[in-house]
Amino acid sequence: MSTTTHDEDVRAQLAELLPRLRRFARVIARNVHDADDLVQVAVEKALTRAAQWRPGSRLDSWMFSIMKNAWIDEVRARGRRERVHAPEEAGLGVGDASAAARDIALSVQAAMARLPEEQRMAVALVLVEGLSYKDAAEALEIPVGTLTSRLARGREALQALLDPGGGSP
């Protein structure tokens, strides 16, 4: 396969993935501008490293991993000089949804925003993006056991936030 074909293949698949990359970014960054900047940084990194992606492997997992690292670099670069944005700041991604869907989105996204970042990422990859535990663990570069416990703790917190009183009897 020629390099050109490989690059075009990556670009075509990235074009299809963009809505999902934006969705994952919105879980991490919690505000639309930072989220789309994160997608842009990750896409730029992916295009310069396109040769490293093996055709036939999952491009989504690879992209999520790049996004996770880009975000960590970004937070580090900022040196925690500012608190990562309050979720209220322009952030909630309810788009053009109807009132009913907006209610769901608002409550879910507000609850997610209160989770620690590592739990948010685990919940986002498994519950929102539908990755297996194994693929999600690889994308986050952590053992499956760690992924599982982050996911369990995140879900427990969401249950308490979204369904108070509806938890364990």
Binding site: A12, A15, P19, V43, L47, G93, S107, V128, Q159, P169
Partner: protein, 247 residues
């Protein structure tokens, strides 16, 4: 045998091997508390998934589409400086090295941009998601079909172990999804939603479902799917519960 909540979560997520699955299913059949715990995990997954659904339906910003297509000068992004410069017009621009690459993928991206979301196909009622609008309409009135003008395709219909009718469906929208809905009273409750990949611009035939939906069907189905005659009879009878199952 007692299962940890983490184990029940993994079961709800379809992560366990067949042997462990069977043990948990036996435990669910014996102990309604275990069954309820699994149901809580499933309901939470569905709710979180639905909470982010609208983002995937938003139009992708031009700058990202153009960057991927390699057709436009993309701004250099350094997130910290961008944040500082937001509101003022201080973004630096350069022509990226891939700017000359063919533009064919833009067509696909523009196609996505042209389709916009319609009314929400579901709504939350007392903590569960129920079908609304064209989805509710199609689940109630359509027989197995390809996606209609309203964008809904119906797959298989069957009864679950409680005797409720359940149907799989495809929703054709910006990011196509597929799911499983089960009749509960006068409403269709959504049990699972998953991305449904598009092939050659066509949503796959209604029979071809993403893995999470297939797993949900496997977990819920009692016996075989309905044949065409049974499906029509169930529809004509208003999807009333097929029979009562003793607790």
């Amino acid at each position: 045998m007692k299962f940890s909540d983490e184990m029940l979560m993994a079961y709800a997520d379809g992560e366990l091997d067949a042997g462990t699955r069977a043990e948990i299913e036996a435990s669910m059949a014996r102990d309604p508390e275990v069954a309820r715990a699994v149901e809580r995990h499933r309901a939470m997954s569905l709710r979180i998934r639905a909470g982010y659904e609208s983002i995937a339906q938003e139009p992708v910003p031009d700058r990202l589409a153009a960057l991927v297509a390699g057709t436009a000068a993309a701004p250099v992004v350094d997130m910290a400086s961008k944040r500082a410069g937001r509101g003022s017009k201080t973004a630096r621009w350069r022509v990226p090295p891939w700017a000359a690459v063919a533009a064919s993928v833009v067509v696909a991206v523009v196609g996505v941009l042209l389709m916009r979301g319609t009314a929400a196909p579901y709504e939350e009622v007392d903590g569960v998601l129920v079908a609304r609008g064209p989805l509710d309409e199609a689940l109630t009135t359509e027989l197995a079909s390809r996606p209609s003008d309203a964008g809904v395709g119906i797959g298989v219909s069957f009864t679950d172990r409680e005797g409720n009718f359940c149907r799989t469906f495809h929703l054709r929208q910006d990011t196509p999804v597929a799911g499983l809905a089960c009749r509960s009273g006068a409403a269709w409750e959504l049990r699972v939603l998953a991305d449904a990949p598009v092939e050659d611009g066509e949503v796959r035939p209604a029979g071809a479902m993403p893995v999470p939906v297939l797993e949900a069907v496997d977990a819920a189905i009692d016996g075989e799917p309905l044949d065409a005659a049974a499906e029509a009879a169930a529809r004509d009878a208003g999807w009333r519960k097929a029979r009562n199952v003793a607790e």
